[in-house]
Amino acid sequence: MEELIEKLKVQLIEQLNLEDMEPEDIDADEPLFGTGLGLDSIDALELIVLLEKEYGIKIQNPKDGQKVFFSLRTMAEFIKENQK
C-alpha cells in the first residue's frame, strides 16, 4: 500500500502539473480537494483518466470520484480493491 501511495504521489504531480511540489510535500491522508491540496473538479476529471490509463480502472460517474479521491490513501485503497 505505502509503495502504491508513493507511486501515486509522483503520478499526481505529473498529471496535474503541480510544478512546485515534491512527493514528500503531500500527506497520504490529507484531503486532496478543498482545504487540503486545493484541487478542483477539473483535477478530478484528470484523475479519472489517470486511473484508467495507469491502472485500467474506469469510473463512469464523475460523482463517484469524490469518495475515491478524498485522499491518496483512499485512492490507493480503491485501486487495490478494483485492480484485477
Binding site: I42, L45, V49
Partner: protein, 763 residues
C-alpha cells in the same frame, strides 16, 4: 439612438434547413437528436447528437458554391443560413452592410481531418488557412457580397448572442445601418471528445431541467439575422419580425467551466438586458433558457431565474433537446426560436422533461402553450470562461418610449491611461523604451519571459499556457500603470487564440484515436480563455468579450471599447490583443508560405525569402473617458476594411478615414507601417510611401515583435509611448527625435492584402 429591428432570418440545424421547417419541428415536438451518421468518429453508436444529415458534398450543393474551393463544414452551414437571411430581408450587396459572426472552433472540422498532412505532406494544405475562427465569416462575406465591416466573436457557448448584441450596438451607435449577425459551428471530433472529457455528455436524449438529467447532446448548425435601423426598415416597407430591445453580457468569474452556485453571471446578464430594454421581469412573456441538461447549468440557471423573476417567472423552456447544444451557433438558433415564439404567440415545449429539480422547484413548459401577452421574449446563452449573455426581442410598437429616444449619440474622447506589454523585446518595464534591441537567434521571434510568479499564484499557473500567462502579466501591468483595481469591462482580441492547448488536445486526440483524453487542454483551448482568466482572477463580473478575426481581432476589440465608453457603460476598461507562436504552428504556416523558414542575418525588410518573420506578444491598455495625469494618448479612431480592390482603394480609405477626423495626410506626424519582410505583400506599404505618404515620416515595428494577428496592439503600445514621451526610440536611428512635436500617429497594417486596418492616435 436608433432602434434595431430584425428583417431577415436564415437557419439550418438538425430540426430543419430553414425557418419554416424549424417552426414545424418545434410545434410537432420533433427532435433532431439521433445517432451519428456523418461525423467520422469512433464514438459513433455511443453518443447521440443533433446532426444535420447532409454530407459535405450535399452542403456544397445546398450552399450553391464552387466545389473546387476549400470549404469547411462550418463555413458551408454559415453560407446557407446567411444567404437565406439576406434573401428573406431582400438586402443585396450593400457596401455599408456589416457582418458579425461567431464560432467556437472555426475550421476545426477540416483541420482535425488533415492535421497530420499540415505538418508533413503537401496534401490538403489549402485547409491550413481555413482553420482560423474568422475564416467562415470571410467566406460568408464573399459569398453574400457583404462589403462593410466584418468581424468574428468567440466566447465559447455564448458567442452568437454576443454577435447579435454587437451588431445591434453598431446600428444604435450609427456605425452602420444594417448588419447580418449570427454564428455557425459544425460538429467536430474535437468538441465531441472535449465535452466527453468533461463527462457531461448524456448517452441518451438530453433532459434539460429534469431532476434525472445527466448531461448534454452536442449539435451543429448556423443561423443569421438581418438587423436594420427601424426607421429605414419601416420606410422601405419591410417585414419586421421583432425589435432587438435588450442585450447584455456579464461574467460569472467563478470557474473556467462551472457556474457559480447562485448563478451570479446568468443573473447579471438577464438583469442588465432588462435594464437596457427598460423592462421589468414581469414584462417578459417567455424565456428560452440556456438549459443544456448538465447538472450544474440547469441548477444554477434555475436559481438565477428565481432570483430575478421570483413570482413573475414566465413560461420557459430549453430547446436543446431538439437541436442539441450547437455551441457558437446556440445563441442565434435559440434567438430564432424565441422570435418564432414571439410572432406565433407560443412557447415551444421543453421535450424530455418529467421531474422537477427539487432544489429549485420550477417547471419548464413541456407542452406547446399559447402565450397570453407575447410582447417580449428573452433568451440566454452561457459559456466557458464564465461568459454569460442575454438578449431580449420585442414585438415592434409604433410608439417609442421617450426615454429610449432621449439618449443620443455621444462623442466622448477616449484616452489610453495605462499600458502593459510582453513582447520579444524588453517591454514589461516602463523604465526603458526599446533602447536596446534583442538579438534574434531563431527563425521566429518569441517573447522575453517575465517572472510569472510575480504576477500569478502558482496554483493557477499550472494550467496556464504561454498566451494566458503573458495576457495576465500585461493586463496586470496596464492596470497597475493606470492605478485601477478592476475595470468596467475586459475586451480582448486574438487571431489564433490558445494554440498550445489546441495543438495538445488535437494531437492527443489523433494519436490516441480519441481515447484517454484529459480535459485541461480542451477547456483552456477556447478563444476567450485569457479574458475569462483575467475576470476570474479579479472577480470581475463585467462585460467581457473576445474578438477572433485575424488582423481585425484587436481592432474590433478597440472599436467595441470606444463604443462602450461612448454608451457610458464603462468609464475605465481593459483592452488587449495577444497571440502565441509554437514550433508546430510556425511549421504549418511555413508550408503555405506565410512564414520564413530560415534565420535572417541582415535587414529583415530586404530579406528575399518568402513569407514574414513570425512573432508573438501581448499588449494591454486601460482606456478611460477621462484624461488622467498618466494619460499617454487619445484614441481618435479605428477602421477595418476587407479585400480592397486596388492600391488606389487603400489610398482612398486612408484619406477618407483621416477626413472623418478632419485631418489631411500632412497633419500626421508619424505613420507606423506593418512591413513584415514579406516582399510580395510589403509592396502595399511601398506603394503608399511612393504616393500619399511620400512626404510622411514613417517607421516600421514588426522587426521588433514579428508578424502575428494582433501585432497592431504592439504598434499601438509603441505609438502611445512615442506620443507621451515625444520621442522615437533611439534604436530607430536617423528617424529618431524629430524636430517637431509628435502629436498625431497613424498605424496602418494589413494581412496579405486581405484584412487592412487603420488606428489613429493623438496627443
Amino acid at each position: 439612438m436608433s432602434r434595431v429591428v430584425v428583417t431577415g432570418i436564415g437557419i439550418i440545424s438538425s430540426i430543419g434547413n430553414n425557418l419554416e421547417e424549424t417552426h414545424n419541428s418545434l410545434i410537432k415536438k420533433k427532435t433532431g437528436i439521433s445517432g451519428i451518421d456523418i461525423l467520422d468518429t469512433k464514438h459513433r453508436g455511443e453518443f447521440l447528437v443533433g446532426e444535420i444529415k447532409l454530407t459535405h458534398e450535399e452542403l456544397i450543393k445546398l450552399a450553391k458554391v464552387d466545389k473546387s474551393q476549400a470549404w469547411t463544414r462550418t463555413a458551408l452551414l454559415g453560407i446557407i443560413a446567411a444567404k437565406q437571411a439576406m434573401a428573406d430581408s431582400k438586402i443585396e450587396n450593400e457596401t455599408n452592410l456589416a457582418l458579425v459572426s461567431a464560432s467556437t472552433v472555426g475550421g476545426m472540422d477540416r483541420s482535425e481531418l488533415y492535421y497530420k498532412d499540415f505538418l508533413t505532406e503537401a496534401k490538403n494544405h489549402r485547409f491550413i488557412d481555413s482553420h482560423h475562427a474568422g475564416n467562415s465569416t470571410e467566406m460568408i462575406a464573399e459569398q453574400c457580397g457583404i462589403g462593410g465591416l466584418i468581424t468574428t466573436i468567440s466566447t465559447a457557448c455564448s458567442s452568437s448572442l454576443n454577435s447579435i448584441m454587437f451588431g445591434a450596438r453598431l446600428i444604435r451607435s450609427g456605425n452602420t445601418s444594417c448588419a447580418v449577425v449570427g454564428g455557425t459551428d459544425a460538429l467536430s471530433r474535437f468538441t465531441l471528445n472535449g465535452f466527453n472529457t468533461l463527462m457531461i455528455l448524456d448517452k441518451g436524449h438530453c433532459r434539460p431541467f429534469d431532476a434525472t438529467r445527466t448531461g448534454l447532446n452536442l449539435g451543429e448548425g448556423a443561423a443569421y439575422l438581418v438587423l436594420e435601423e427601424y426607421e429605414s426598415a419601416i420606410a422601405s416597407g419591410k417585414k419586421i419580425y421583432a425589435e432587438v430591445s435588450g442585450y447584455a453580457n456579464a461574467n460569472d468569474a467563478f470557474h473556467q467551466t462551472a457556474s457559480s452556485e447562485d448563478g451570479d453571471g446568468p443573473y447579471l446578464a438577464m438583469k442588465n438586458a432588462l435594464d437596457i430594454a427598460q423592462l421589468k421581469p414581469s414584462d417578459i412573456s417567455y424565456i428560452n433558457v440556456h438549459g443544456t441538461g448538465t447538472d450544474n447549468n440547469d441548477l444554477t440557471e434555475g436559481k438565477a431565474l428565481i432570483r430575478l423573476f421570483a413570482k413573475d417567472l414566465p413560461p420557459f423552456s430549453s430547446t436543446k433537446a431538439y437541436t442539441g447544444h450547437t455551441l457558437g451557433a446556440a445563441g442565434v438558433i435559440e434567438s430564432v426560436i424565441s422570435i418564432i415564439s414571439l410572432n406565433n404567440k407560443i412557447a415551444p415545449p421543453n421535450i424530455n422533461f418529467k421531474n422537477v429539480i427539487e432544489e429549485i422547484g420550477i417547471k419548464p413548459t413541456n407542452e406547446l402553450i399559447e402565450l397570453e401577452k407575447p410582447d417580449h421574449v428573452l433568451t440566454n446563452s452561457f459559456g466557458f470562461g464564465g461568459n454569460d449573455s442575454s438578449v431580449i426581442f420585442s414585438a415592434v410598437k409604433q410608439v417609442i418610449p421617450e426615454s429610449v429616444m432621449a439618449s443620443s449619440l455621444t462623442d466622448i474622447p477616449v484616452y489610453i491611461v495605462g499600458l502593459g506589454c510582453v513582447s520579444p523585446q524588453d517591454t514589461v518595464s516602463r523604465d526603458t523604451f526599446l533602447e536596446d534591441i534583442m538579438e534574434v537567434d531563431s527563425t521566429f521571434l518569441q517573447i522575453q519571459k517575465p517572472n510569472y510568479r510575480d504576477y500569478i499564484d502558482p496554483k493557477q499557473l499550472r494550467r496556464m499556457s504561454k498566451i494566458v500567462r503573458m495576457g495576465i502579466v500585461s493586463a496586470k501591468e496596464a492596470m497597475k500603470d493606470a492605478g485601477i483595481d478592476n475595470p468596467d469591462a475586459i475586451i480582448t482580441g486574438t487571431g489564433m487564440g490558445c494554440q498550445i492547448d489546441t495543438e495538445k488536445f488535437l494531437n492527443s486526440m489523433i494519436d490516441n484515436d480519441e481515447g484517454l483524453l484529459t480535459p485541461t487542454s480542451f477547456i483552456q483551448s477556447t478563444h476567450n480563455t485569457v479574458g475569462g482568466s483575467i475576470a476570474l482572477g479579479n472577480h470581475n463580473h463585467n462585460y467581457n468579450l473576445t474578438y477572433v478575426h485575424r488582423t481585425f481581432s484587436f481592432e474590433s476589440a478597440l472599436l467595441d471599447s470606444m463604443m462602450l465608453l461612448n454608451e457610458k457603460k464603462a468609464n475605465e476598461l481593459l483592452l488587449g490583443g495577444f497571440d502565441e507562436i509554437t514550433d508546430e504552428s510556425w511549421l504549418i504556416k511555413t508550408k503555405i508560405g506565410h512564414y520564413k523558414t530560415e534565420k535572417i542575418t541582415g535587414d529583415l525588410f530586404k530579406d528575399d525569402q518568402i513569407g514574414a518573420r513570425a512573432g508573438e506578444g501581448s499588449s494591454f491598455f486601460v482606456l478611460s473617458d477621462k484624461k488622467t495625469d498618466n494619460a499617454y494618448a487619445k484614441v481618435l479612431g479605428v477602421e477595418m476594411f476587407f479585400r480592397p480592390e486596388s492600391a488606389k482603394a487603400v489610398q482612398d480609405k486612408i484619406t477618407i478615414f483621416l477626413s472623418k477626423h478632419e485631418l489631411l495626410v500632412e497633419d500626421i506626424d508619424l505613420v507606423i507601417l506593418g512591413n513584415n519582410g514579406d516582399t510580395e505583400f510589403d509592396r502595399n506599404y511601398q506603394e503608399l510611401e511612393q504616393s500619399i505618404l511620400k512626404e510622411s515620416n514613417t517607421i516600421n515595428y514588426k522587426h521588433l515583435c514579428g508578424e502575428y494577428d494582433t501585432s497592431s496592439a504592439f504598434a499601438t503600445w509603441m505609438a502611445a509611448r512615442i506620443i507621451k514621451e515625444n520621442k522615437i526610440p533611439v534604436s530607430f536611428g536617423a528617424k529618431s527625435n524629430p524636430s517637431q512635436l509628435i502629436g498625431k500617429v497613424l498605424i496602418y497594417n494589413h494581412f496579405r492584402n486581405i484584412n487592412h486596418s487603420l488606428i489613429l492616435l493623438s496627443k
